[in-house]
Amino acid sequence: MTETELLMWVRGPVLQVATVIFLLGVLVRILEILVLGRKANLAEARGSAVAGGLRTIVSRSFPDSGTLRRSTFNVVAGYVFHTGFFIVLLLFAPHILLFRDVFGFGWPALPTQIIDAITIVTIITLLAVLVHRMTHKVMRYLSRFQDYLVWLVTILPLITGYLAFHRIGLTPTMLIAIHIISVELLMVVFPFTKLMHAFTLFMARYYNGAIAGYKGVNS
């Protein structure tokens, strides 16, 4: 298979399959949770569950001082990496071009040099996260195969994307093909792993907030 054929295959059938697995998987898992439902609370409502739920979705984004003090690295690295990841994914011109192609609309991009710098920062942060996971006693004790797998499929698109943009190592065609494959790998692994937190975190925050809000307490 020539390089062009590989790129065509990756942009075509493989992307279709990865999209199906990703969307189907994510929806199945979310709906499984929702359809299972929660036990009805027979006590009288003391406050608004919905308001509590919605507020908690936002408020949980700000770490409380105790968590911040105890797990400074996790909180800071987590924020830096997630922010960087989304900026690179959503504000890089060729990516926006892809979204426009699929969704029909786009949005303004950031200059590529800024994206470039943010990519480097994100990659370094992810490497630090791995080192922390492997050296911190408790993290190491808690970590399983899935945690390392998830880390790998997250950092690969960043690294391959950086190499593809700067055209380092292989031919540009090959580098872009590898980058797209790494993203498809992420998509395929997503619904079967903790990466689902990207969607379930909102549900978890809402539930916690709703339960407390119903009781009329802060959450």
């Binding site: 020539t2 390089e3 062009t4 054929e5 790129l7 065509m8 942009r11 075509g12 059938p13 992307l15 279709q16 999209t19 199906v20 990703f22 969307l23 189907l24 998987g25 994510v26 929806l27 199945v28 898992r29 979310i30 709906l31 499984e32 929702l34 359809v35 299972l36 439902g37 011109a93 060729p94 071009l97 892809l98 192609d101 699929v102 969704f103 029909g104 303004p108 991009a109 950031l110 200059p111 590529t112 040099q113 399983r144 899935q146 055209r167 031919t171 540009p172 065609t173 872009i176 797209i180 792993t193 903790k194 689902m196």
Partner: protein
């Protein structure tokens, strides 16, 4: 077909002064993308170079490559280089045809066995030997026979270098490149559809000057002309870096000369000299004229997913697939959820307890 005189003697005979010769060398150096400081060396080498015999075979081609080369009006460097070589056979350009022309070719091969340069344009069909013939001889046979005594082979144009348009899906003639047939001779690929004329003459000039093959990249292309991608030398690159793209062919961005990536420009993955050497004696090149690069010097550029679609775009209709997947996912999710609920109801009814194993299950 006299190759006894050196190039210097030939030019002198034509009444070209030393000054004219130096001008010729300066332009040749520029053509070969060599630093001007090398002109004295080039002059010395060309002075004493012997005129190589060149046999040009045209196979499954559109003749665009020959046209590209001959569009240069004489006497330019291209014209002079063709004076400098002894073009002993070119079945499109020569007046003779048929048996006599073939006899002339065989004589040239015999006289210069092991030393002549074979130039090929056009791909070679392998499906049926009758698909493309010259004087009744199939392309493949002629190539194999002439290649035997060649010092080096130059594949001019994307068809000879990589198969070109005949090779594009579904390749009805079984077209292949020269490198797919000849394995035991040095082959220089000069791709492009067509290649820039100065690149063709630059390769010949290199041969004349140094008597050797220029440095080649992994695809057998001279690094001097194919070492950098269009993207790396494109004057519109600052717009790419700033994220300023033309969305259509006649919007404000297009008029201001913004980057053509969104319109399918293959600049990033294409290696050629278009951005610096340009076309028509340095007039312009496709991107400068407002059209995205086609990637014509890369293998399989015809099958690359469309000239107006950037290479990182999906080729299929992802949006539709996504809608179906969401629909199917919703249905499956609800169904599985219902199954789970039923299972939970049964468990509750049977007073099943939650054990530590349940809690330790992986997600």
């Amino acid at each position: 077909m006299s190759n006894e005189k050196t190039l210097g003697e030939v030019l002198r005979q034509q009444g070209i002064t030393r000054r004219g010769f130096l001008k010729f060398c300066a332009a040749t150096a520029s053509l070969m993308a060599l630093p001007p400081a090398m002109v004295p060396r080039i002059a010395a080498a060309l002075e004493n170079a012997r005129r190589p015999s060149v046999i040009w075979l045209s196979f499954q081609e559109c003749t665009g490559c020959t046209e590209s080369l001959t569009r240069s009006h004489s006497p330019t460097i291209e014209g002079l280089i063709f004076n400098a070589i002894s073009l002993d056979y070119h079945h499109t350009l020569q007046a003779a045809a048929g048996t006599h022309a073939e006899l002339a070719r065989e004589k040239a091969m015999e006289e210069n066995y092991g030393n002549y340069i074979l130039v090929v344009d056009g791909s070679i069909p392998t499906g049926n030997m009758g698909f493309s013939t010259i004087a009744g001889i199939s392309n493949r046979e002629m190539l194999e026979e002439v290649a035997k005594g060649a010092a080096a082979i130059v594949s001019v144009g994307s068809c000879a270098a990589f198969g070109g348009i005949p090779h594009a899906s579904p390749n009805p003639t079984g077209a292949v490149a020269v490198t797919d047939i000849i394995k035991d001779k040095p082959i220089i690929n000069v791709p492009g559809c067509p290649p820039i004329p100065v690149v063709i003459s630059g390769v010949l000039a290199h041969f004349l000057t140094f008597g050797s093959i220029p440095e080649l990249d992994a695809l057998g292309r001279p690094l001097a002309f194919y070492g950098k991608s269009i993207h790396d030398r494109c004057y519109r690159r600052p717009f790419y870096d700033k994220g300023l793209f033309a969305e259509t062919f006649d919007d404000e961005g297009a008029k201001l000369g913004w980057c053509l990536y969104k319109l399918g420009c293959k600049g990033p993955t294409t290696y050629n000299a278009c951005a610096t050497t340009k076309w028509n004696e340095g007039t312009s090149f496709p991107i400068e004229s407002g059209h995205p690069c086609l990637g014509c010097s890369e293998p399989d550029f015809w099958d690359g997913g469309g000239f107006y679609k950037a290479i990182s775009m999906p080729t299929g209709d992802i949006a539709r697939t996504a809608v179906y997947a969401i629909g199917a996912g919703a249905a499956a999710g609800v169904a599985l959820g219902a199954v789970n609920r039923a299972r939970k109801a049964r468990a509750v009814k049977a007073h099943q307890k939650v054990t530590i194993d349940d809690l330790e299950k992986d997600s």
